[in-house]
């Protein structure tokens, strides 16, 4: 039993698992951003239904959010600043889950806007999935360490004091 726990602990803390998860989360977010990026007006409509973003910022957020998703996804895949990228992804997933929870409690069955702009309604299952992705991204945040481009090596201006 103890050795089984130790085995799971080693797997959870594995740097290789981080690489797999980086590719998984990276691809997932790249796909999610690609479904919204070309049609910002539709995404703005979906976003408006959440009633979280103020009117004056709605169009900007509808353009900016998919771009942030795409950049974080690419950074995760190529292994650049993976801690920062995973932090942003975690924050996005959490705010998305809060938005969904609030609307589910309000009883407004709005579109999810997760991968497609229309037709995917918010559900508790979607929130659970998002929280699962938060856990996977946390693994990347804590244990990622290999197959990475290190900013201090490839972008000299970003060199940190060591």
């Amino acid at each position: 039993m103890k050795s089984l726990l130790l085995f799971f602990k080693r797997i959870i803390m594995s740097e290789y698992l981080s690489v797999v998860l980086r590719f998984y989360m990276g691809t997932l977010f790249l796909y999610a951003s690609m479904t919204k990026f070309p049609f910002p007006a539709e995404f703005a409509e979906t976003l408006a239904a959440y009633q979280i973003v103020p009117y004056w910022a709605l169009n900007f957020v509808a353009v900016y959010l998919p771009a942030v998703e795409m950049t974080c996804a690419l950074f995760l895949i190529i292994g650049l600043s993976t801690r920062a990228a995973s932090t942003i992804i975690i924050l996005l997933l959490i705010s998305f889950s809060i938005g969904q929870t609030v609307n589910l409690i309000r009883g407004i069955p709005i579109d999810c806007g997760c991968f497609r702009n229309a037709g995917d309604q918010i559900t508790w299952w979607n929130i659970l999935k998002a929280l699962g992705w938060v856990l996977l991204t946390l693994q990347i945040f804590f244990f990622d360490g290999i197959f990475r481009l290190k900013p201090d090596r490839y972008i000299p201006r970003l060199a940190r004091k060591c």
Binding site: F37, P38, F39, P40, A41, A44, E45, L47, A48, A49, Y50, Q51, I52, V53, P54, Y55, W56, L58, N59, F60, A62, V63, Y64, P66, A67, V68, M70, T71, C72, F75, S81, R83, A84, A85, T87, I88, G107, I108, P109, I110, G145, K150, P151, D152, L158, R160, K161, C162
Partner: protein, 302 residues
């Protein structure tokens, strides 16, 4: 000049033998070997037997180690420094490569002779132990620095966040600009004369007379949740289709009160503008929308 120094004075400059009396230095110097090594010459390599102890009288050498397909420099030593001491004590093979960087004069003590000196001269043994302690202390510092470096690398810097946010901003703005479906980033406010505003009490008076069309501009899910009694739902997003189906039958002179404003969207203004463009001149917007209507206790459905 160092080049012309006697063997004894070369030894005397070495921290190991500094404390020895002159006659003992002469004795050791007599037993030692001396070599002048040309630049870029390998003195020994990893895996060679550790059979001698080397002291640098003049010149410079580089200690390096092969790792991950490339040569990693371990240290550079100069006059007064020595090398090869570890293997002499442990009887192990050489763990580094040593190469001269310039013409180097070396004093070499074979293992047997070096062991003899250590046994015979406690001052040398003590100085040697001191030097070895310094050597290990330096290595511990290197290990500490390396481990701190590794920790630092995995830390997140605010610059990383800045890079991601600025890249995304550039990417989003540039792509939105070239995208045929792109959006205006800051929403345009409707022109002043698009539609007049009516207060809930004025609207209620018209509602009671039943000659005014109440139009809910919000998405149908919100309309289904609650709307003004008798209101028709024409969501802003599908206005063009709904216009053909619903509004086509309505006279252009009809008084219309549009409502539907949320924290995120001014549906009422969007629909009022579209109505105005299609020639409906008696279009008005309900000030503060459904919430103000409800607050006054006016009739809603369901």
């Amino acid at each position: 000049m160092v080049m012309t120094d006697s063997k004894e004075s070369c030894l005397a400059k070495n921290p190991l033998f500094r404390e020895l009396p002159k006659e003992k230095l002469t004795e050791i110097a007599g037993e030692a070997q001396y070599e002048v090594v040309p630049p870029s010459t390998i003195i020994f390599q990893e895996g060679d037997p550790g059979d001698s102890f080397y002291m640098i009288n003049f010149g410079r050498v580089r200690l390096s180690k092969k790792g991950r397909g490339r040569e990693i420099s371990v240290a550079e030593l100069g006059p007064g420094d020595f090398f090869g001491q570890l293997e002499i004590l442990t009887d192990e093979l050489r763990w580094v490569n040593v190469k001269t960087l310039e013409e180097t004069r070396l004093t070499i003590l074979p293992k047997k002779q070096f062991d003899g000196i250590l046994k015979e001269y406690p001052d040398v043994s003590f100085a040697f132990a001191k030097q070895m302690s310094k050597y290990f202390a330096r290595n511990i510092q290197v290990i500490k620095t390396k481990s701190e470096h590794r920790f630092q690398v995995s830390k997140t810097s605010w610059i990383d966040f800045l890079v991601i946010f600025i890249l995304s901003l550039l990417c989003g703005i540039v792509f939105n600009h070239s995208n045929p479906n792109g959006l205006t980033l800051i929403p345009r406010l409707p022109a002043e004369d698009t539609a007049a505003y009516v207060t809930p009490s004025q609207a209620e008076a018209r509602h009671a007379e039943a000659d005014t069309l109440f139009l809910d501009a919000r998405p149908s899910i919100l309309y289904e949740q609650m709307h003004i009694e008798g209101a028709v739902n024409i969501p802003s997003a599908i206005f063009d289709i709904m216009h053909m189906v619903e509004l086509g039958k309505i006279a252009k002179e009809q008084t219309i009160i549009v409502y539907g404003r949320t924290f995120s969207s001014h549906y009422d203004e969007q629909v009022a503008r579209k109505l105005s463009l299609r020639g409906y001149e008696n279009t008005m917007i309900l000030k503060d929308g459904l919430s103000a209507w409800r607050k006054e206790g006016y009739p809603v459905k369901p």
